[in-house]
Structure formats: structure tokens, C-alpha cells
């Protein structure tokens, strides 16, 4: 059962990704694209965690944690770029 | 345990780090640090040369992990020679730059030291991936050095240089990947052994890898069609840097020689890509002649002379069976040092001519141009290959050991082109003048570095016999790769 559930979850998350990419492509604005990218990053966390369960390994946990901890910095940088141009001032 | 082998890598690294730690920008201290490091390197290089001349190949297993598992440094005659050459070139180049050019931008001295670290590491390492790493060290430092100072020309040339080399680095990695994927090893000696046993698909894959390596090395060595970046980059670089860069193309050549001698001079892959290399080298030589003739600035002209030397060398290597390697190495020593000296001299001349700089057009007379013209005359004779200086010796030696009509014709034409171009350049620079110049007088240290380098040409001619013996011994050792293999891999190889 678990395996099936995991497969379903993986499929759902991957599908979510496809939708994210779709938003990233069509935009229309830069904030839309950044938002799509940000969501992709967050979905990746879910994916990695589920994958960890699937293969019964905790070795991938840090990758997920790393995204949670510093992934947002990219988003912040782009957002700051949009509003101020200068991200370090 | 003999740790000296790693000194040529560690000395400049240490000096570079000390230079970085020195945040108060005390220029005299920085110069002193850099020069002391170069002097120490020279001393160590002499010592290592002496050691290599004992005939034993010394292997230094880093981290005490034996080849092929760990990285080893290998000191044989070739690497000792190249390290020595680097040290001999570096000192005057740095001395020259220490007259003020070093202050035209940040971190010059540290970059210079790291460049030396990279070059020496590339010469000494016995591991292919480590070679890549040291290539990158020397490249990143050279990027910084090439862009040292200001000016749009430099930035443009630098950009081209950087992008091309980044593409080259990517290719290098692909080649290394294939090497590992087919032979399962990265150690040069182990690679040479394992390569011989490959068949079928793996053999073809390895061929691709090696051809790609030739491209990578050819890019560093500046061969056709990969040399286009060089003239602009070298001509626009600061003089001391350009002089040091004279060794950079030779790193590419060295890598070719090393890999070729170990794995492809003999065995099932003998002569892999050799034919293509031969023709490309000849085309390089021919195009360099054309470039020399068409140059509108002395710096560009000298840069093409560098390309010319590369064509000459690679053709001699590709001619086959390493039979011309001894003379080629003599020629390599000569051309590196003299081209280095010429870059410095070009700068002195350009300083003396003010606005016109090194453009080959009518300009103001150079203050005290007599000394410079004498130096130019000597350098031109040497680089063109006229007697009685080292260029002639090298050329005769090469002509004798590469009995191929095309090569002869091209080499002689190259000499003629150099003669025509340099006599034209010299007469324009020193004779065709309008009024007294407002340019700068060369400083004593400037002259000292130039004279120091150029004086090596007559010395190399006087001591041609011992030097030729020496390079012949280097070639002899390379012709016998088993020495290297057994030194690195132990008796089993």
C-alpha cells in the first residue's frame, strides 16, 4: 500500500511541477515566474522527502533541509531586483 | 623523505597567501615578497634540476597514497626542465612589473604567484585530473593578470581569452570523463598502461578522449584554429604579464608531450591524431608568418612570434617518434625566454614613444634609443633564428632532426618573414622618427630585466652543446616511458 501511495504522491508532486513550469513559461510577469520557481523549490522538498521514504534512506534529508533554509534567498534576491534593481545597497 | 618536489607549488602558494594577508598595501613589501618567492623558486628549481639529472625519476605521493589511487607529483627531467624555465622567466618578468605596473590594479603580486603555482603544478603533476585542476589555477590567475591594469582593449581581449578557455575547460572535463570511463583511472602512468589494453568500443571512446585532449592542449598552446585569442590578449596585457605568458603556451605543449610520450608514442594507439596535429601545426606556422608580416603593432608582432614558435614546436613533436624532441626542447627554452624578453622590450619601446606606443608608424624618437635599439637588434636576431644566437642553433637543430621538405620550407620562410617584419619594425621604431620624444626613460630595473632575459640568448648559444645534450637527455628519458611507468607504479609496470 505504502509503495502505491508513494508512487501516487510522487506523481502528484511531479504533476505540480509541470504546472509550475507552465506558469514559469507563460508568466506573464517576472514576479509570476519567480513565484513559479519558488513553488518548484518547495515542491522539490516534498519530493525529496517522499523519495527518502521510498528508498528508506535518511541521506537525502539534508538536501531538503537546505532548500528550506536557503532556497528562499534566490526568490528574495529576484524580488529585490524587481523593486530596487540593486539587491545589495 | 624528500619534500622538495612540492616546493615549486608551495612556495608561490605561500607567498600568494602572505600577499593576500598583507592588507595594508605596502607595495615595497609586496614586491619584496614576490621577488623573494621567485628567487627561492629559482634556487629550488636548480636543486630539483640537479636531482632530476641524477637520472632517477622521483615520485612524491601526496597524502602518502600510492599511485594510481592518490595523486603523485613526478619529477623527471622534463618536468624539472620546465620548472626551471618557469623560474628563470618569472624573476625578470616580476622585476620588470615591479617598477610600477604592479600598482595599476589590485592583487597583482598575489595573482602572479598563484599563476606560478599553477604552472609549476601542471608541470609536476602525474595525474590527469590534477592537471586539470592546475590548469584552472593557472588560468584563473592568468585571467586576473591579463586584465590587470585598465583599458577597453584589454577587457575585450580578456573576455575572449576567458570565454574560449572556459569552453576549453569544459572540453577537458569531457575528455577526462571519457578517460576515467574507459580506463577507470586518472593517474597518467596507470592510464598509459590501461590504455594499451583497450579494444572495441572502449578503444574508440578513448580515441575520442585523446583527440579532445589534443584540442584542449592545442587551445592552451595556441594552435590553429585555436590561437586567435592569443595575439590580442598578449599584445594588450601588461608587459610583465605578457612576458610570463610566454610560458603559458608551452604548458599546452608540455601536456601534449607528456601524454603523447607516455601513451601514444608506441603501442596500439601509436600516432593517434598525429597526422592532424602535424598539418595543423604547419598551418599554424604558416599563418603565424602571415600574422607577423601583417602586424601593425610590435606587441602583436611578438605575439605572432609566440604562435610561430608553437607551430614550430608542435610540428616537431608530431613529426614522429619523438626524434626531434631534444632540439624542440632547446628551441622551446629559447623561444620562451626570448619572446618573454621581447614583450618587456616592446613595453620599454612603447613607453619611450609616448602616444604612438608600439604602433608601427612614424613617431617621436626614443630618448636614449641607442640602448633599446641594440637590445631590439639582439632580440630580433635571436627570435628570427639568425646566427650567432640561440635561435639559429635551435633552428638548425630542428631542421636537422625533422627532414621534411614542407617543414624546412615553412621554417625557413618563417625566418624570412620574421626578418622582413622585424627589420621593418626596427627601422620604423628607431630610425623613422620625428623630433625628440617626450616618452619615458626606462628605469634601471626595467633594463636589467630585459637585458637579463635577452642575454640568455647568447649564453644559450655559447653553451649550446651542453644544453642540447641536456634536452637530448630529456628526450631520451621520454622515449623510454617504462622508466616513468615503473617509477610511478612500482616495478610491476
Amino acid at each position: 500500500m505504502l509503495e502505491t501511495a508513494i508512487s501516487i504522491a510522487l506523481a502528484l508532486i511531479t504533476l505540480a511541477w509541470v504546472l509550475n513550469l507552465y506558469r514559469l513559461v507563460i508568466g506573464p510577469s517576472l514576479p509570476d515566474r519567480v513565484l513559479a520557481l519558488d513553488t518548484m523549490y518547495i515542491n522539490s522538498i516534498a519530493l525529496i522527502v517522499v523519495y527518502g521514504i521510498q528508498v528508506d534512506s535518511k541521506l537525502y534529508f539534508e538536501a531538503a533541509m537546505l532548500i528550506a533554509l536557503i532556497g528562499f534567498v534566490s526568490t528574495v534576491a529576484v524580488a529585490k531586483y524587481v523593486t530596487r534593481g540593486d539587491i545589495i545597497e | 623523505m624528500n619534500h622538495w618536489i612540492i616546493a615549486p607549488v608551495l612556495i608561490p602558494a605561500l607567498a600568494g597567501m602572505l600577499l593576500l594577508l598583507e592588507v595594508r598595501e605596502r607595495h615595497r613589501l609586496r614586491r619584496l615578497t614576490g621577488l623573494l618567492s621567485c628567487a627561492a623558486m629559482l634556487a629550488v628549481a636548480v636543486f630539483l634540476g640537479d636531482q632530476a639529472w641524477g637520472g632517477e625519476i622521483t615520485v612524491y605521493a601526496l597524502g602518502n597514497w600510492q599511485a594510481p589511487f592518490g595523486i603523485v607529483l613526478v619529477l623527471d627531467k622534463l618536468s624539472a626542465l620546465m620548472v626551471l624555465l618557469t623560474a628563470v622567466l618569472a624573476f625578470p618578468a616580476l622585476l620588470y612589473a615591479s617598477c610600477g605596473d604592479d600598482r595599476k590594479g589590485a592583487n597583482f603580486h598575489a595573482l602572479f604567484q598563484f599563476q606560478l603555482m599553477g604552472v609549476n603544478g601542471a608541470f609536476l603533476t602525474g595525474d590527469l585530473f590534477n592537471l586539470f585542476v592546475f590548469f584552472e589555477v593557472l588560468l584563473i590567475a592568468s585571467y586576473g593578470l591579463a586584465l590587470h591594469g585598465r583599458g577597453p582593449e584589454r577587457v575585450k581581449a580578456g573576455l575572449h581569452y576567458v570565454v574560449l578557455n572556459l569552453v576549453g575547460s569544459a572540453l577537458f572535463l569531457v575528455a577526462l570523463g571519457l578517460v576515467y570511463g574507459t580506463t577507470g583511472t586518472l593517474n597518467m602512468a596507470d592510464f598509459a598502461v590501461k590504455a594499451q589494453a583497450l579494444t572495441g568500443t572502449d578503444a574508440t571512446l578513448l580515441k575520442v578522449a585523446v583527440l579532445m585532449l589534443w584540442v584542449v592542449f592545442g587551445l592552451k598552446a595556441a594552435m590553429f584554429p585555436l590561437y586567435f585569442w592569443l595575439p590580442a590578449a598578449y599584445a594588450s596585457a601588461t608587459a610583465g604579464v605578457a612576458a610570463l605568458f610566454a610560458i603559458m603556451t608551452k604548458v599546452g605543449f608540455y601536456a601534449m608531450v607528456r601524454v603523447y610520450a607516455l601513451a601514444f608514442a608506441d603501442g596500439p594507439f601509436a600516432g593517434l591524431g598525429q597526422q592532424a596535429l602535424w598539418w595543423l601545426a604547419l598551418v599554424t606556422l604558416g599563418l603565424a608568418c602571415i600574422g607577423v608580416l601583417g602586424a601593425k603593432r610590435l606587441g602583436t608582432l611578438v605575439s605572432y612570434l609566440v604562435v610561430m614558435s608553437v607551430g614550430t614546436l608542435v610540428a616537431a613533436l608530431a613529426f614522429g617518434q619523438l626524434q626531434a624532441l631534444g632540439p624542440a626542447l632547446y628551441y622551446l627554452l629559447h623561444s620562451t625566454l626570448i619572446c618573454g624578453g621581447l614583450f618587456l622590450l616592446t613595453d620599454l619601446i612603447a613607453r619611450g614613444r609616448g602616444e604612438v606606443a608600439d604602433c608601427l608608424q612614424i613617431g617621436p624618437a626614443i630618448l636614449n634609443g641607442g640602448r633599446l635599439s641594440l637590445l631590439f637588434f639582439v632580440a630580433a636576431i635571436a627570435v628570427v633564428g639568425l646566427p650567432p644566437l640561440s635561435g639559429f642553433v635551435g633552428k638548425v637543430a630542428l631542421l636537422r632532426s625533422v627532414p621534411d621538405p614542407t617543414y624546412w620550407v615553412l621554417l625557413l620562410i618563417a625566418g624570412l618573414c620574421g626578418l622582413v617584419a622585424l627589420s621593418r619594425a626596427g627601422s620604423t621604431l628607431f630610425w623613422r622618427t620625428t623630433g625628440e620624444g617626450s616618452g619615458l626613460r626606462p628605469a634601471r630595473r626595467h633594463l636589467l630585466s630585459v637585458v637579463g632575459l635577452l642575454l640568455l640568448s647568447p649564453l644559450m648559444a655559447v653553451y649550446a652543446e651542453p644544453l642540447l645534450q641536456l634536452t637530448a637527455a630529456v628526450a631520451e628519458q621520454l622515449r623510454n616511458p617504462d622508466l616513468y611507468l615503473s617509477a610511478v607504479l612500482g616495478g610491476g609496470a
Partner: protein, 932 residues
């Protein structure tokens, strides 16, 4: 030894005059100093000369480069002695002459230095006993003559003349080098003795024609033989002493000397005859003809020189021993009369200020003594009896009559010879009549001309006296020297000959008289001839040559410009094409791709992810003109690649890739502030097609390679790492142990690269003048809120949290995925976040802003960790580890690798902050400029 010393003497002496000049301004002293050297050399030759006259050949050899068979071998035989005497003797006279010729302003010291250099080179050529050595000196004569001809380098003529001479003779020199090398290959030695003894071998060799052509190319260029004669008249831009020296006895004679020298080795074949005598005849006639029309005094002498050299060449070409003797004899005679004529011309030039014969007239009245000297020398040149020129010319006529090499056409030779004689007389007559008589001088720059200083005439007197002495008493003056020289030339016994003024009425005498009267007749018809000449199109060889050279330069420039067009795109395209060619050519040798190999099973998620990665990569590519979008999709690629690493068991890589992604994004955003946000369409569709093709070939090729390797089987060295990681490296994370231990040296280099990149970036950014945009890409002013409250407030407590995670990642690295590099990046990102949130000023008021020392400490720490192992006499970077047990805490590991990894950590932190913080500060500079 003695002989080598004599040759080296002028070289050593060349340094003397400039030094003397610095000490004293006395020009006489200077000249004497310079003259002392040839005088000394002559004196030193006295004894050896006696031995040579006694029939000996002296040798002297010093080792130089045995492996090239190049030794400092000298020989003194008759031929060498003859030339050595000419070189030194005339050189001595020229130095004395130059003392008066050069004005006080001129740098006489340098002049003498050049002259002595040349003298030494010439002496070397004639005494070399090794062919390679001969080439060495040969080229040295070209080089030193370049300096001499270009002595007045401020004059265009001198510059161009010098370069032309150098280029032509240099080319010949290279050909000669090739010829000599080939000869050496055939004979097996460069020793002159061996070569001369191997004439038969050489002539029988299949290389003979090549060798002969190459050697003759050297000879003809040097001796200004047709069609390489054009450089010599332009070399007249040199100061006259130089002309007197180079074009009478030395430089141009080097060519004919070589003919004489190699006569036994190369002569005696039909090819030799055809090439040598034909060139000689052409030169003889053409130059003699042209000489008549020269208005420049030295121009006339120059062409006359060419003509006489043609005569000598012709003689050597006749393949007759007697002709060779005549040639040698004419070499001597020509040297004496031509040197004196040049000197006389120099006196006239010196005293009148011009060399134009149309202005110089009637000098007999003003300088009768010089006139007499010049007239005697001219007469010798014309071949008037009782002067030396007559004797050798007579022999020449005789030889042409006796040659049967042309078979039925043999009569052409004496005909040509006579014709040459006729013109020779004509231009000699012109030299006498037009200069010393022919009315009054016209508009001379110096007027009235008068006799030169006493001692300026002495060299001329000596030479003219020699002309007369030889002409009248050949047997007691020159016979001995000629005999030894000719014997040495022929390399054996001499033919029977007799030097005398009177050989009775014979055909040669008739030819002489025809020449004499014919010449005078032609000169009398000069007006008509001059008119005719004037109507011929004027060809200035200098202009033509210069034009050719410049054209060559232009063509070269154009070709270079084509290839090296300054376009990075084309450079990259060349490189990529090369790779594509490699891939395409090798693909044929690969087996047909088959999917029927052992592969890991695919699953839907993987396929979908691959599709997304591919889509994102293509988006990045095709949307590259919309830069921000391109960056976003590039980020997707990065994320997907990280996940690929997760999927295929490489968590370390995933961690690294993810954190590098973030830093890269920061970097790109910092840069985009200063860069345009869009790229306009620039590439033509052809270009795009080409690039797409290249990209496809390379991409497909690499993909195929990857597939083949992945599905193939290779035994690698990795098992060793798995086995030794824990026991030898003290860690269970093999990737990390490889990085910090097995291949720690790579990592050491890698952090160096990172550190150096940061330094380089710092240097690039220093003083960079970049205008930042005042409006956003939509033209609106930027938002007011520089430091949003939420961002500022949240990012601050995140710092210790991130540091904690960094410590965690760092510490576990040795045993589990993680390590110094990722920890360093986390730290950097957390710190940069502070910059982004709160600004440079805020951050720098809280911590030092110069990261150079951090980088240095990092690399230093890594390096010192490596050096530490020396203490225990282990190689650089040998690791060591131990397990420590503490109460409460328990057992834990201490490893030097940790120290090394700390170095990595520091370097990463220092380098990324050095890059990003300084990039961030860029806008502050711009603001400051705004405010200032």
C-alpha cells in the same frame, strides 16, 4: 688558436670605439684605435701567411656544438689568405678614410664598431673551415651590413636600402643554410675539408640540383647577380666608406668567394655552367649597360660593381681551371680599383656636396690631384693596358674564347664579353669625362670645391699605386698571392699560366681594343643614348620592392584580419567545429547504438523530470533574449540537476549544487542591475542555422559517448577508496574522504582557484565605472523601501540558525554527506542575506568588510595542514586521525582532514563574500559619483 684569435679580433675590438668615444672626443685617436685592430690582425697574419705561401694550409679548431657538427673551425689557405688580406687591408684604409669623411656630428664610435663587426664577420666567412660556421658568419655580414647601410637611418633611402639589402641577402642566407644542411646530410659532415674532398659524392647525389640551387641562391643574392642585383644600388645610401668597403672587397665578394670556395665541391657540371655562367653573363651585360646611364656617381660605381661581379661569376661558371684563376685575379683587381674609385667618389661628394654628375663638371681644375687618382683607377676599371684591370680582363676574354660549353653557340660568350667590355669602357669614360671635364660645375652646394685633407687621399693613393704596380709588374707583385689563392680555389694543381702585360697580338687583344674604342664611341654618342634611356619607363627597384613588401603586409594583414577577426563568436565556432569534426569522424568507428543493453528501469517520474529538465534547458536557450526569464528557467535546470544527483546516489553533489545555485542567483541578480534586460536579435538566420547544427552535433555526440560509457563495463580504481576510506582516511563518506584525503591536493588546487577568482574579481571591480539604472525595466522609478521590515527582521535570527546548520553540515561531512564546502556556502548565503536585507553600510558597521585575509587564512590553513605531515616525515597532505574518549561526551574522532576542511570552509566563505559584497558595493560607488 692564433687564427681564431685573428678572426675574433675585430669582434672583440667592436666594443672599443664606442668606449673610446665616450672617453675622448678626439676623432683621430678614435680612428687610430679602430684601425689598430685590423693592423694588429694583419701583423698577426704575417707568419701564417709565410706558411701559406710555403704551401701549407693552417687549421685551428675550437669546440662549439659538436652535436650539430658546428665547430669554430678556421682554415687559412691561399684563398682565405687572399680574402683576409683584402678584408683587413682595405678595411684599414677605409677606417683611415672615414676619419675624414665623417663629419664631427656623427657618431663615429658606433660607425667603427659596425665596421669592425662587419670586418670580423667577413673574415669569418673567408676563413671558416666548417660550412655551418660559414653560414653563421655569412648571416653576420648581412646583419652588420644592415647596420652600416642604415647608418643614416633618418634618411628614407638609407632605411629602405638597408632593409632591402638585409631582406634579399637574408633570404639568400636562409637558402644557403638549407643548401649547406643538405650538403652536410649528403657528405656526412660540415667540415669544409671533407666537403671539398667529396665533390664527386655531392655531384652524384640526387640532391645535387637542390643543393646547387640553394647555394647559388645565397651566392647570387649576396653578389647581386641577376635577377637579385637590384638591392645593391640602393645600398649606396650608406656612407661612402661603407660602399667602398662593402661593394669593392667584401660583402658582395662573399658571394663570389663562396663560388670559389665550393668550386671543387659543386663545379664541373652542366647545371653549374648553365646557372652560373648564364647569371654571370646576364649580370655583366645588363649592369654594364645600366651603369652608363646613372647620374649618381655612386650609382654608376654600384652598377659597375654588379657588372664586374657578373664577370667574375661568369668566369667561375665556365668550368675551366684557367677561368677560375682569372676570376680570382679579377677579384683582387676589382677590389683595389673599385675601392679607390668609391673613395674618390666620396671625396668628390665630400667636397662638392653632391654626387649628381649632371652638376659635377670640370673638377680637374679644382682638384687635379684627386682627378689623377680617380682617372687612373677608372682606367683600370676600363681595362686599359698597364693597369691591373687590363690583365684580368685579358684573361677573361681568353677564357671566353676557349670555352666550348655552349657547343655551336660558343661564340656567344666572347661576343657577350666584348660587349660587356665596350660598356665598361663607356661608363669609365663617363666617370672621367663627365666629372673632371665637360665644362663648369653647375650649382654645387659647396663651391668652389678643393682638394680634400691630405690624409684622406692616402688610402686612395695606396690603392691606385697597387693598381699600377700590379698592372706593370704582375709577376713580382701579385703572382705569388694569386698562385696560392687559385691553387686553394681549385683544390689541386694549378694550370699553366703566365702573368704578363704582353702576350703578343692575339684575339683577346683585339677584343680589348674593340672594347676600348667601342666604349669611347658609345660614350661619344651619349646624348642620343641618354634620350633613349630617358624615354624608357623608369623602374625604381626600391619603390617596387617597398611596394611589394607593403603589399605583402597588406595582404597578410587582410588574411589575418579574416581569420582573427576579433569576433569571439567565430573563435568559439572554430573550437566547437573542431570538436564536432572529432565526434563526427570517430562516430563511424562506434558500434551501432542499441537500447538492448543492461539499463536501470525508467519510471514515469524520471521521464517527466527529464522532460522538464530538457524543456527548461531549451527555454533558457530560446528565451535568452528575455534575460530574466532565461535566468528563471536556468534555475529550474539547476534544481533538476540537483535532484538528478539525489536520484543517483550523490547527496553530496546535490547539496553542493543547490547551494551553488543560490549563490549564482545572487551573483546574476547583482550583475543584472548593470546589464540590459533584453538582447536584441542580431544573428542572421544562416548563422543561427550553423550554430544549431554545431550544437546538435556536439550535443548528440557527447550524449552518445555518455550512453556508451554508462552502459559499458569498466573496472576502476574506486574499490580502493571504498576499502580504505574508513581505515586509512578515518571517514565513512567516501566522497568526502576522497576530497580531503585521497585527492586532497585537487581540493587544495580547487580552493586556490576559488580564492584567486575572488581576488581577480576584486581587482576587476576596483575602480569600475558602471552607471546603474535609475529606473526599472518598465521605466518606473525604483521602489522606496530599500530594507523591507519583514525581510530585515526575519533574516537576522536566521543567521545564527544558518550557522548552526553550517556547523552541523561541516562536522558530519567526513562520515555523511556534507562538508566544508557546503557549510561555507550556507554561511556565505546567510551573511549575504544580511547584506541584501540591511545593506552594506549596516553589515560593515558590524563586521570587517575585507575578506582577503579570510581567503588567505583558508588556503593557508589547508596548506599548513598539509605541511604539518612533514613533521612526521610523511608527504604533503598525509592525514592522520584518532579517536578520543571524553566523559559525558563519549567517543569522537579528531582528524587532520577536519582541519583541512576548515581551510576549505574559510576559503569558501571568504571568496564568496569577497565576490558578492564587492559586487554589491559597486552601486555605492555610482551613488557617490551621483552625489559628488
Amino acid at each position: 688558436m692564433n687564427l681564431a684569435f685573428v678572426v675574433m679580433l675585430p669582434f672583440l675590438g667592436a666594443f672599443l670605439p664606442p668606449l673610446v668615444e665616450r672617453v675622448t672626443g678626439n676623432r683621430t685617436l678614435l680612428a687610430c684605435g679602430a684601425a689598430a685592430l685590423p693592423a694588429l690582425a694583419l701583423a698577426l697574419l704575417f707568419n701564417p701567411a709565410r706558411q701559406v705561401f710555403a704551401g701549407e694550409t693552417l687549421h685551428s679548431t675550437l669546440r662549439w656544438i659538436p652535436s650539430l657538427d658546428l665547430s669554430l673551425a678556421f682554415r687559412l689557405d691561399g684563398l682565405a689568405l687572399l680574402f683576409a688580406l683584402l678584408v683587413l687591408g682595405i678595411g684599414l684604409l677605409v677606417i683611415l678614410y672615414a676619419r675624414y669623411y665623417l663629419s664631427a656630428k656623427e657618431k663615429a664610435g658606433r660607425f667603427y664598431a659596425y665596421l669592425l663587426l662587419f670586418m670580423g664577420a667577413m673574415l669569418g666567412v673567408v676563413t671558416s673551415d666548417n660550412l655551418l660556421l660559414l653560414v653563421v658568419f655569412w648571416e653576420l655580414t648581412s646583419l652588420s651590413s644592415f647596420l652600416l647601410i642604415g647608418f643614416w637611418g633618418h634618411q628614407t633611402g638609407a632605411r629602405k636600402g638597408a632593409r632591402m639589402a638585409m631582406t634579399v641577402t637574408g633570404m639568400g642566407g636562409l637558402a644557403l643554410l638549407a643548401g649547406v644542411l643538405l650538403m652536410g646530410n649528403v657528405v656526412g659532415s660540415f667540415s669544409l675539408q671533407t666537403v671539398l674532398e667529396s665533390g664527386d659524392v655531392i655531384r652524384a647525389s640526387s640532391w645535387y640540383p637542390v643543393i646547387l640551387c640553394l647555394v647559388l641562391l645565397g651566392v647570387f643574392t649576396k653578389s647581386a647577380q641577376f635577377p637579385f642585383h637590384f638591392w645593391l644600388p640602393h645600398a649606396m645610401a650608406a656612407p661612402t666608406p661603407v660602399s667602398a668597403y662593402l661593394h669593392s672587397a667584401t660583402m658582395v665578394k662573399a658571394g663570389v668567394f663562396l663560388l670559389a670556395r665550393l668550386y671543387p665541391a659543386l663545379a664541373g657540371t652542366d647545371l653549374w655552367f648553365m646557372l652560373v655562367s648564364l647569371a654571370g653573363m646576364m649580370t655583366l651585360l645588363w649592369a654594364a649597360f645600366v651603369a652608363l646611364f646613372q647620374h649618381d656617381l655612386k650609382g654608376l660605381l654600384a652598377y659597375s660593381t654588379i657588372s664586374h661581379l657578373g664577370l667574375i661569376t661568369l668566369l667561375f661558371g665556365l668550368n675551366s681551371e684557367m677561368a677560375a684563376v682569372a676570376a680570382v685575379f679579377h677579384i683582387i683587381n676589382h677590389a683595389t680599383f673599385k675601392a679607390s674609385l668609391f673613395m674618390a667618389a666620396g671625396i668628390i661628394d665630400h667636397e662638392t656636396g653632391t654626387r649628381d654628375m649632371r652638376r659635377i663638371n670640370g673638377l680637374w681644375k679644382y682638384m687635379p690631384y684627386t682627378a689623377v687618382l680617380a682617372m687612373v683607377a677608372s682606367a683600370a676599371m676600363a681595362g686599359v693596358p698597364l693597369l691591373n684591370g687590363f690583365l684580368s680582363k685579358e684573361m677573361f676574354f681568353t677564357e671566353t674564347l676557349q670555352s666550348e660549353q655552349l657547343g655551336a653557340l660558343s661564340w656567344l660568350l666572347p661576343l657577350g664579353a666584348t660587349l660587356g667590355g665596350v660598356f665598361s669602357v663607356a661608363y669609365s669614360a663617363r666617370f672621367i669625362h663627365d666629372v673632371f671635364f665637360n665644362g663648369e660645375p653647375v650649382n654645387l652646394p659647396k663651391y668652389p670645391p678643393h682638394e680634400p685633407p691630405r690624409y684622406m687621399k692616402v688610402p686612395v693613393e695606396i690603392l691606385v699605386a697597387l693598381c699600377v704596380a700590379v698592372g706593370v709588374f704582375p709577376a713580382i707583385t701579385v703572382a705569388g698571392l694569386l698562385a696560392v689563392a687559385a691553387a686553394a680555389t681549385l683544390g689541386g694543381d694549378l694550370p699553366e699560366y703566365h702573368l704578363a702585360i704582353w702576350h703578343g697580338f692575339n684575339l683577346p687583344l683585339v677584343m680589348s681594343f674593340i672594347a676600348l674604342f667601342g666604349g669611347i664611341f658609345i660614350y661619344s654618342q651619349r646624348r642620343r643614348l641618354f634620350d633613349l634611356w630617358a624615354r624608357l619607363p623608369e623602374v625604381d627597384a626600391k619603390l617596387v620592392f617597398e611596394g611589394r613588401i607593403q603589399q605583402l603586409g597588406r595582404v597578410a594583414s587582410a588574411i589575418t584580419g579574416r581569420l582573427q577577426n576579433g569576433s569571439l563568436q567565430s573563435y568559439v565556432a572554430w573550437a566547437v567545429t573542431l570538436v564536432a569534426v572529432i565526434l563526427l569522424t570517430q562516430m563511424w568507428h562506434l558500434p551501432a547504438l542499441s537500447l538492448d543493453v543492461g539499463m536501470l528501469p525508467m519510471d514515469g517520474v524520471a521521464i517527466l523530470c527529464t522532460a522538464m529538465l530538457v524543456a527548461a534547458a531549451l527555454l533558457t536557450t530560446f528565451l535568452h533574449r528575455h534575460r530574466m526569464t532565461s535566468i528563471m528557467s536556468l534555475s529550474v535546470v539547476g534544481l533538476m540537476v540537483s535532484l538528478l544527483f539525489v536520484r543517483f546516489s550523490a547527496p553530496d553533489l546535490a547539496l553542493t549544487q543547490l547551494s551553488v545555485e543560490v549563490v549564482t542567483m545572487l551573483l546574476l541578480m547583482l550583475a543584472m542591475y548593470f546589464l540590459p534586460v533584453r538582447t536584441q536579435v542580431e544573428s542572421s538566420s544562416v548563422r543561427v542555422l550553423r550554430d544549431v547544427l554545431l550544437a546538435l552535433v556536439v550535443g548528440a555526440g557527447v550524449a552518445v559517448l555518455a550512453f556508451l560509457v554508462m552502459t559499458g563495463e569498466t573496472t576502476t580504481i574506486s574499490q580502493f577508496f571504498m576499502d580504505n576510506s574508513k581505515s586509512g582516511g578515518g571517514g565513512t563518506n567516501v566522497v568526502n574522504v576522497i576530497l580531503v584525503d585521497f585527492r586532497g591536493f585537487d581540493t587544495f588546487g580547487e580552493i586556490t582557484v576559488l580564492g584567486v577568482a575572488a581576488m581577480g574579481i576584486y581587482a576587476l571591480l576596483k575602480d569600475l565605472n558602471l552607471a546603474s539604472a535609475k529606473y526599472d525595466s518598465l521605466g518606473r522609478p525604483w521602489a522606496a523601501d530599500a530594507h523591507p521590515l519583514v525581510l530585515v527582521t526575519i533574516s537576522r535570527p536566521l543567521l545564527p540558525l544558518a550557522l548552526l546548520i553550517a556547523v552541523y553540515i561541516f562536522l558530519r561531512g567526513h562520515n555523511l554527506p556534507g562538508g566544508g564546502f557546503v557549510a561555507g556556502l550556507i554561511t556565505s548565503v546567510a551573511l549575504v542575506l544580511q547584506y541584501v536585507a540591511s545593506g552594506v553600510g549596516w553589515v560593515h558597521s558590524r563586521m570587517p568588510g575585507d575578506y582577503h585575509p579570510v581567503v588567505a587564512m583558508g588556503v593557508l590553513l589547508a596548506g599548513l595542514t598539509g605541511v604539518g605531515s612533514w613533521v612526521f616525515d610523511y608527504p604533503f597532505l598525509t592525514s592522520s586521525f584518532t579517536y578520543v574518549s571524553l566523559p559525558v561526551i563519549g567517543k569522537f574522532e579528531l582528524a587532520t582532514a577536519m582541519l583541512f576542511d576548515t581551510g576549505v570552509f574559510l576559503t569558501v566563505v571568504g571568496a564568496t563574500l569577497l565576490m558578492l559584497a564587492n559586487l554589491g558595493k559597486l552601486s555605492l560607488l555610482d551613488d557617490k559619483r551621483e552625489n559628488a
